[in-house]
Amino acid sequence: MRLLATVFAIASGIIVLLGYFYPLPLLLQLRVLLTNWAVIIAAMTVLIGIYNLVAVHSEKISTGEKGSASSWVLIISLILTLVYLAYAVFSGSLEFATRVVADTFIVPVEASLMAILAVTLIYASIRLLRRRLDVMSVLFLVAAVLFLIAFMPTPYGPVPGDQAIAQFMNVFSTGGARGLLIGIALGVLLTGLRIIFGVDRPYGGQ
C-alpha cells in the first residue's frame, strides 16, 4: 500500500510537472484530471481537519486539561454554527446566514486580534535592541521608523519629503526582498524536487 502511494505520488508529480513545461494535449488532460482530484481531496481534508479539531478538544474536556472551558466554547460554537447554516441551506438564506456569522463573530474577533497585533509589534520593536544590540538591528529599526514617517497620516497632511523618503527606502527594501525571495525560490525548487522524486515522503508513513 505504501509502495502504491509512493508510486502514485511520484507519477502524479512528474505528470503535472511535464504538463506544465510541455503542454501536449494528453499531458494537459492528465494534469487537469489530477488537479481536480487534488481539489476534491483538499475538500475532504478540511472535513478530516475539523474532525481532528473536535477530537482534540473532546479529549481535553474528558481529561480535564487546562483550558478545557475554551474547548467547550469551541465545540458548542461549532455545533451551533453548523445547525444554523444547515437551517439556512434548507430555508434558502445561506448567503445571509454566512454574512451574519462573519459580521457578528469572525470579523469583530479578528479585528480585535489585529489591534492586539499592532500593540505586540510595537512592543517587539521596542524590545529588539534589548534583545540583540547590533548594527543590523539598528538598521532594521531605523528603516521601520523611516517607513512609518513616510506613510503615516498626520493632522497637518503628509510629512514634508515623504515621497523622497519612501522612494529612497524602497530601493533598499525592494532589493533586499528580491534577494530573499530568490533564495526562497531556490529552496522551494529543491524541496519540490525531493518530494517529486520521492526522496522526502511525508505521506504513507515513510
Binding site: 475539523i50 481532528n52 482534540v56 475554551s70 474577533v109 517587539a124 532594521f140 533564495g183 511525508p202
Partner: protein
C-alpha cells in the same frame, strides 16, 4: 512538435541542472562531505531538544498555514522533513512533541510524519493522533488556537517553521512570555521581519530550507544546500552580466 518559449527553456534547463547536481552531489556525498556553516538557531535547537527530553517538557512545532496546493506549501514540507528527525529524537520523552498547523492537509501529513518518526524510533505505540493538530483555518484562528498550546502544555521549545503572516507575532509573543526557546523561520517576508524583531536567533531567507540538513535528515538535504549555493551563484552571475549588457546597450 510544440515550440517552447525561451523563458520556459531556461526554466527547464535550471530544473534539469538542479536535478543532475542534486543526484550527483548526493552520490558523491561520502567522498565530498558538505561543510555546513554554523547557524546559531540550529545549535540552540539541538541543545533545546536534548534539554526537553531531559526535563520531561514538550517540543512544540508549528508548521504554518501554507496550503500544499500552492507554492507556499514547500516551506511546510521543509518543516515536515525536520519534524521527522525531531520526532525520532524526542520519541522517548515523557511528553511527546506536539505539532500545530493552519491547513487541514498539512495537519494530516504532520500526523503521518509523527507516526513514521515514532515507528523509526521503534516506539510506534507512543504515537497519539492528537499530537498533530489543526488549530484554525484562518490566519487569526490559527494563531488563537496555537497560543494555548504554547502556554498550557508545558512546552519548553517552540519551533515555528513554515508559511506564516504577521499574525505570527501573537504566537511568538505568547511563546516568549513563557520564556521558552524560540526557533522561527518563514518563507513569507512579513513573517520574517516579525521573527527578526522577536526572536533571539532569527533564520533569514532560505535558511528555512536548511533545517533538514542541520538536524541530520540525510545526505540529500545536505546536497540540496550545495545545489542552492551553486544556483545562487549562477543567478548572481546572470544578474551581473545582464546588468552589464544592459548598461552597455547590448539589449
Amino acid at each position: 512538435m510544440i515550440a517552447l518559449a525561451w523563458p520556459l527553456l531556461i526554466s527547464i534547463g535550471l530544473l534539469l541542472l538542479a536535478l543532475i547536481l542534486l543526484i550527483g552531489l548526493t552520490l558523491l556525498h561520502s567522498k565530498i562531505p558538505t561543510a555546513l556553516r554554523q547557524i546559531d538557531a540550529f545549535d540552540r535547537l539541538t541543545r533545546s531538544v536534548g534539554l526537553a527530553v531531559e526535563n520531561g517538557t514538550r517540543l512544540h512545532i508549528s508548521l504554518g498555514r501554507g496550503s500544499l496546493f500552492t507554492t507556499r506549501g514547500a516551506s511546510a514540507l521543509a518543516g515536515l522533513a525536520m519534524l521527522r528527525k525531531l520526532t525520532e529524537r524526542t520519541s522517548l520523552s515523557d511528553r511527546p512533541p506536539v505539532v500545530t498547523t493552519g491547513d487541514a492537509s498539512l495537519a494530516i501529513l504532520s500526523q503521518d510524519t509523527l507516526q513514521s518518526g515514532y515507528r523509526a524510533a521503534g516506539a510506534e505505540d507512543q504515537y497519539r493522533y492528537s499530537t498533530g493538530r489543526l488549530t484554525g483555518l484562518t490566519p487569526f484562528a490559527y494563531a488563537a488556537g496555537t497560543i494555548p498550546v504554547t502556554k498550557d502544555e508545558q512546552v519548553s521549545t517552540n519551533v515555528f517553521l513554515g508559511d506564516f503572516g504577521s499574525e505570527s507575532a501573537l504566537m511568538v509573543d505568547a511563546a516568549e512570555r513563557d520564556n521558552s526557546t524560540l526557533i522561527a523561520a518563514s518563507d513569507n517576508i512579513s513573517a520574517q521581519s516579525v521573527f527578526y524583531a522577536t526572536s533571539q536567533d532569527p533564520l533569514i531567507g532560505e535558511e528555512l530550507f536548511a533545517a533538514g540538513a542541520y538536524v541530520g535528515a540525510g545526505p540529500v538535504h545536505e546536497a540540496s544546500l550545495t545545489v542552492q549555493d551553486i544556483l545562487r551563484w549562477l543567478i548572481i552571475l546572470a544578474i551581473v552580466i545582464g546588468s552589464g549588457l544592459k548598461f552597455l546597450g547590448v539589449f
